[in-house]
Symmetry: C2
Subunit: 390 residues, 2 copies
Amino acid sequence: MDNFTFCTPTRYLFGRGVENEVGRLCKNAEWKNVMIVYGGGSAVKSGLLDRVTASLDAEGISHISLGGVKPNPTDDLVYEGIDRCRRSGADALLAVGGGSVIDTAKAIACGVPYDGDFWDFFAGKAVVGPALPLGVVLTIPAAGSEGSGNSVITRLDGLLKLSLRTDTALRPKFACLNPELTFTLPPYQTASGIADMMVHIMERYFSPTEDVEVTDRLAEGLLKAIIAEAPKVMACPDDYQARANIMWSGTLAHNGICGCGRREDWASHFMEHELSAIYGVTHGAGLAVIVPAWLEYVSRIKPAKVAQFGRRVFDVNEHDDTAAATETVCCLRGFFSSIGLPVTMKALGIEAPDFNLLVSKLHENKGPQIGGYITLGKEDTEAIYRLAAE
Amino acid sequence: MDNFTFCTPTRYLFGRGVENEVGRLCKNAEWKNVMIVYGGGSAVKSGLLDRVTASLDAEGISHISLGGVKPNPTDDLVYEGIDRCRRSGADALLAVGGGSVIDTAKAIACGVPYDGDFWDFFAGKAVVGPALPLGVVLTIPAAGSEGSGNSVITRLDGLLKLSLRTDTALRPKFACLNPELTFTLPPYQTASGIADMMVHIMERYFSPTEDVEVTDRLAEGLLKAIIAEAPKVMACPDDYQARANIMWSGTLAHNGICGCGRREDWASHFMEHELSAIYGVTHGAGLAVIVPAWLEYVSRIKPAKVAQFGRRVFDVNEHDDTAAATETVCCLRGFFSSIGLPVTMKALGIEAPDFNLLVSKLHENKGPQIGGYITLGKEDTEAIYRLAAE
């Protein structure tokens, strides 16, 4: 086990009706003037935004709003948000939505007090210092941004999708998680969210660090819970208990607890970021295509942990590590398929992937070598993209 | 799954040498004058206290100290600590030790700014308001107090052992966890700590709340990790990796994550508190006696969850719930025995337990009914004490 530091100060309110606590939470935090960030029409149509603003009004908290965040959120809206926050004197942000909305709010939060271009933080040219505080009302369990200090933004100029990691500077002060708000998610979005949270766990699980049994077991436990509950939410979208289990799993998948004490991987996420930056696919669906291909590739080189994963998570019964690893890849692909996700680029709608472009952008953005469990160069990542093609 | 709130703001520094970060952590927190609380000679003899004070000195942080905390810590030292903190103007506490030391520091922390008797908080007559902040250097992985908002103190007058729960008021600001500091723990203390952390998980696992798969799976995963690593630390006390896994498990066992979304039980802890208050036994060893008896008793009434526990944690293979539950009780007793713990009061040195005294004190202190998985009255708890006798 490696040395680590771990700090997750976010206050979670979980359950029915918790979004109505927003006003009280903002007031306790002594926020006076909040900018609400949200996405498209669903938060408006469902009445959620009305409930949130009513809760703020009841506590006398001023608010402005910034709507229109799209999946794979882009820098243009971040710049607009920073500008509007500064002009209105907003002292906090309230993200009402999923990962794209939260990530946009986080980028605005660190951009407002910063003299330079907020993109400096994502490009690694500056370290986040002071930031506006942030609250969340979560509507999509997937990205785990409600419990992380991270943000992923795409720069429109050059379609550069980069992630920013902070220790606690961008962790939300509070997050309201009401599983009922997820009842109306379309099946494809529900399934993509499930893939996303599973891969957040796997990116931490597949590590070169040995002897991290406690973190392994937590990761395996979370994955087993997700695999048990996923078919229920797909079959019955308003199954409160199953939605609740999935929602809380999504938060724990990415708050860092599954990474404590070890190096992480993240090659699959980096590879998928290029897919969604270039082809505009849904992030979780892109992961369902990339990750089994990645797992297949690395299992040929280093099967032991893949075999452990399969035995403990999918109850694979093969004694031999190589055979168990092969079976594990099948189980993972089979599981993603069973919840309606594509497992090839072709099924994802990418008929003729530009492997050269994918690989060159990937290594241009992330360096010549990526990954932790196995270090991958250009030849490796091209092979994985090709395995994922069809 | 029940509605819940969850907030664990403690910053954990984990690994070799992290106790040397104490000065920097105190300085970052803007503490100027710290009272160090510790127990007996081992923190002095090992040189740990010297390293901690050197780290404080290097950052120019003043300190006084309060030693002499004993297992099952008592109110007398709390009163002394409150008095000395007030007189010296200490603005923070630094607990260097295990649960008894941390719990004493927590009681002092809430007592200092309070006009009345600190015992009011434990007796349920007052709610903790402002408290001095607290840091921890952990030396015994067991009580989990380094990550919890709780404290357990015994009042000498009447041997009343009561626990106090707070949301975040008494959660440490930081906790330094260096597994090397646990190498020299005697085997009995190591084993008792393992029992304590396992039972912290079980008290949350055995719940009347249904459909909490994610929290169940986390709990089971932690228990499996502890069961895998425990024999290693018993066989080889300076096995860093095994000690590290056990140490981090002990923190996660009690920071609340295994209780999210459900009612908890705590009958076994309440029953053990009487045992250690009256007979002065080591808390974890007392639990190793009480919990299998409790599990045996409740499994006769409600075997299903006991069977699930056995199948998932001990790989019990019985199809029938009642048979599986019976087998599970054997597995748990066998495990505690295998790490050298007593599993009867007789083996614990209590030859002729005073059942009337135990039961009457228990229900006098905790009310006529205790427990969550099964509600237990006087007849039940007497039966459990009798099952635990020999």
